[in-house]
């Protein structure tokens, strides 16, 4: 029996692999010309063999599905990366990130200042912990953090989930899991997708427009072809899902879950600089800033160059669409850290918000378990996967990959439970 999978991001590809492994026929339809969804790599615009991660970059400690995949397939990772040290005190928390490199008001902050800021945040976390939903900014005001501490703490929303601190709940920042110990891929992140896609029937450049039920089967219409399949797994971003027609109409609870899940709005600013060793020493491995580039991290690239990759939430200032201005912001942060004006030899800006088949960076998970369950639940033969439906590591690559395997299992379980027809009677 055949399953049609909408989207060749990690969710779609991992779903397809699992189904194919169990002897199912699978066709994956991808709207863009790329494999990997929001894990796209750019190998053309930087020099000396440098590659840019246009979307997701990190595998964090605990993202074992993807780490296991890299192990099995010999996919090389970067040296281990710790964006900030442990502390203040004996563990990691939402304050730890302030101990890493920090630029405030265009100036590098020394260790003493960072320790004081992190200490202030840590004390407040201890004496008046945030609720799960409380936003970073609301908590900072409630506990009366000093202005620099409040700003530095709220800035991390611009890194994860690349959004405004006023709309980001503290569970994104606390207990400081993201960036504490992680790896990037030695090549770009989409190596996972391209490796996992081997042997699969993936059709690029085929945006799915309508999915309709015809008897017990489903008809999938793309701009190019019509397919009839037994089951469907929809793995697109929530915004892209809202742009596909369904016949019959999706049930009200599903539509409410889709409309109740905003995506963070923003993109990525990437630039390659000369004097890589000096910049690495001054700003590596990563730096948090209060500029429109909330956070950037470095990768050593050939000929003593370094590639900086930064996140930029859309705050309405238009910088994401003004590429020279966006890259200049990144230059200034590097300069603040290194003390010299860096020589940029390449730059890329990727605005995920204006990408027709994505619409944002990641799902915001604002509805808790209940809404995530509604996003993930199947409707007949229509199954749903993707980072927004992830039970663990939602909004991350790991959540996407695991959700794809979960959706595949739903279909496999259904196959196993099909009635056995005894034709001999």
């Amino acid at each position: 029996m055949t399953t049609g999978i909408v989207g060749a991001g990690l969710a779609g590809i991992f779903a397809a692999r699992r189904l194919q492994e169990f002897g199912e026929e699978v066709v994956v339809l991808e709207a863009t010309a790329h494999l990997g969804g929001r894990t796209r790599g750019d190998r053309n615009n930087l020099r000396y063999g440098a590659v840019a991660d246009l979307g997701a970059s990190f595998l964090d400690r605990g993202q074992d599905r993807l780490l296991a995949f890299c192990l099995e397939h010999g996919i090389d990772l970067s040296p281990e990366l710790r964006m900030f040290p442990k502390g203040p005190g004996s563990g990691y928390s939402g304050a730890s990130i302030l101990l890493g490199n920090l630029v405030l008001d265009g100036h590098k902050r020394d260790r003493g200042t960072r320790e004081a800021l992190a200490g202030e945040v840590q004390d407040a976390l201890g004496s008046a912990p945030p609720t799960v939903t409380e936003t970073l900014v609301a908590w900072a005001y409630r506990v009366g953090l000093s202005r620099p501490a409040a700003r530095a703490y709220a800035m991390q929303a611009g890194f994860n989930p690349v959004h405004r601190g006023t709309l980001t709940s503290t569970w994104h920042a606390h207990p400081g899991d993201i960036g504490r110990l992680c790896w990037t891929l030695r090549d770009s992140t989409d190596t996972i997708a391209s490796t996992a896609a081997e042997g699969l029937d993936i059709r690029l450049g085929q945006p799915v427009r309508v999915v309709s039920r015809t008897g017990r089967a489903y008809r999938i219409q793309t701009d190019v072809e019509d397919l009839v399949v037994d089951d469907v797994i929809l793995t697109t971003s929530v915004i892209a899902a809202r742009r596909i027609g369904f016949d019959p109409v999706l049930p009200a609870w599903k539509v409410e879950a889709l409309l109740g899940t905003p995506m963070s709005q923003g993109g990525k600013i990437i630039a390659q600089y000369r004097d890589g060793a000096s910049i690495w020493d001054a700003a590596g491995p990563s730096t948090l800033t209060d500029s429109p580039v909330s956070m950037f991290w470095l990768r050593r690239t050939g000929q003593d160059t370094v590639t900086a990759m930064g996140t930029m939430p859309d705050t309405g200032d238009g910088i994401l669409e003004d590429h020279p201005a966006a890259l200049a912001v990144l230059d200034r942060q590097i300069e603040a850290m290194s003390g010299f004006s860096p020589e940029r030899i390449g730059g890329i800006v990727q605005n995920w918000t204006t990408d027709e088949f994505v619409g944002g960076v990641v799902s915001m998970g604002t509805g808790g378990v209940e809404r995530r369950a509604a996003l993930a639940a199947a409707v007949g033969g229509l199954h749903f996967a993707g980072e927004a439906t992830g039970e663990r590591w939602a909004s991350a690559m790991e959540g996407a990959a695991r959700s794809g395997e979960r959706a595949a299992d739903e279909i496999l379980l259904k196959r196993r439970n099909r009635p056995v027809l005894n034709t001999s009677v």
């Binding site: 939903t133 936003t135 742009r243």
Partner: protein
């Protein structure tokens, strides 16, 4: 003031502090006005330097003393609370403009818009015949694939497989009504009842707020950052100024509600609901043109496009011979153009030129990007039909001496001027319904028998 009542040495009520209203938009001011009318003290704290919230009027820089509405302006016949408020305040509404002409045989309001509103699709201004043709196709599509009550606009467009012209018409109307992209709102905004006939406040929408604020204690430039809620409500501003009140009415915009440090924190359900609203990432680009008569004649109705400009219109009646001001919505994916002013004005010049059939001369322009404004972070909400009651119910729920007003707390009229006024009336009622808290000594003295 109750301390010495009937010779009692004990005060009657525990507190005599004012009600504190956060936000001097229509909701906050309406609430404050009602509370003051009932004889209670009320203080309104406003973060910006002017009252009106998302109903500001721009008056500077326009030739011939003209003005422009930077925010909310459309007043439908069904906006009863707004009509009543304007009457009470002696504020005039302008002559109605019809963007739609219904016919009895219509099976969707969009057909009415296709008769009155002009549509630019793929750079081409639809002729009357083309609009009629689109209406016929739409009628057939609605009959063949009736939109489900909860269906997303874009999902219906895809399911019904309408032509690119009809798709553009439906998408642009969805954006006009919600300032959201058509994949972020449901069909009731375009297929639900809508008169398509609108009035505006003479002198600009902000007149309503200004008139209400005149008799109220409004303190501008006080952005509230913390609200401590115990037996009283203690409000702290970003400048460190404290106000103590008996109760608070939070009447700030929907996307800054979650930036205030409430203590105890806002209920989880309220935060989840507020952060789940899809913000209308939108604003207005407004320009004044010298060829006023020509522009007014061409813009007797609304103009909708499928380009970065969602819609454009002339909203203010001006004497013949004077310039004309054209207002345009930029929303959703089209919002980025607002940050490149020359490009945005150029796009508007082009649309105005196309509709008037002549090159026009721009005298002045202004851009108000509500999505970029740190005091608003979005222009409006457009919750789905099925979720409205629950969303508004949770957002308006009273907690810890705090009441909640704002258009987004009103289920039927969420996202409108009417919703703001109604929510203010409702919050005032809540406050006035609350019992005063008696000092227990007073009760003992009066009622306890030995």
């Amino acid at each position: 003031m109750f301390k010495a009542e009937r010779g009692s040495p004990v005060r009657r009520f525990l507190e005599d502090a004012p009600v504190i209203v956060l936000g001097a938009g229509l909701a906050g001011l309406t609430a404050a006005r009602q509370i003051q009318k009932a004889g209670k003290d009320v203080i309104v704290l406003e973060a910006s330097d002017d009252v009106g919230g998302r109903t500001l009027t721009s008056r500077v820089g326009w030739r011939d003393n003209q003005y422009a509405n930077l925010g909310g302006e459309l007043i439908d016949r069904s906006y009863h609370a707004v009509h009543r408020l304007c009457a009470e305040l002696d504020i005039d509404l302008g002559a109605p403009q019809a963007y739609s002409r219904h016919a009895p045989e219509d099976n969707s309001p969009i057909e009415g818009f296709l008769r009155a509103t002009r549509f630019i699709v793929d750079g081409h201004l639809l002729t009357a015949e083309e609009a009629e043709h689109a209406a016929a196709e739409l009628r057939a599509a609605v009959t063949a694939s009736p939109p489900a009550a909860h269906e997303i606009v874009e999902q219906w467009i895809r399911r019904a497989q309408v032509s690119s012209v009809v798709a553009a018409v439906v998408r642009s109307l969805a954006r006009f009504f919600t300032q959201l992209d058509p994949w972020d709102c449901d069909v009731h905004f375009v297929f639900g009842a809508s008169s398509g006939v609108f009035q505006r406040v003479r002198g600009g929408t902000q007149e309503v707020a200004v008139a209400m604020a005149r008799d109220l204690d409004v303190r501008c430039g006080h952005r509230v950052v913390r609200v401590e809620r115990g037996r009283t409500v203690r409000v702290t501003t970003d400048g460190g100024v404290e106000f103590v009140g008996s109760r608070a009415i939070c009447a700030v915009g929907p996307f800054v509600l979650t930036s205030i440090g409430f203590d105890p924190p806002l209920d989880d359900a309220k935060v989840r609901t507020a952060t789940s609203l899809l913000p209308a990432m939108a604003g207005k680009v407004i320009a004044q043109y010298e060829q006023g008569d020509l522009v007014r004649e061409a813009f007797r109705s609304l103009v909708c496009t499928d380009g970065p400009i969602n819609s454009a219109w002339v909203s203010v009646e001006e004497p013949a011979g004077s310039p004309a001001i054209v207002t345009a919505f930029f929303a959703g994916m089209g919002r980025f153009h607002m940050s490149a002013p020359e490009e945005a004005f150029g796009l508007l010049d082009q649309v105005v030129g196309q509709v008037t059939g002549q090159a026009v001369h721009r005298l002045h322009g202004e851009i108000k990007n509500w999505w970029a404004d740190p005091l608003h972070l979005g222009v409006t909400v457009a919750p789905p039909e099925g979720g409205r009651q629950a969303i508004a119910g949770i957002l308006s729920a009273i907690e810890d001496r705090t009441h909640f007003a704002g258009d987004y707390t009103d289920a039927p009229m969420s996202g409108t001027l009417e919703g703001a006024v109604r929510s203010g009336l409702r919050a005032a009622q809540e406050v006035l319904r609350e019992m005063d808290v008696y000092d227990s000594h007073f009760i003992t003295e009066r009622l306890s028998k030995p």
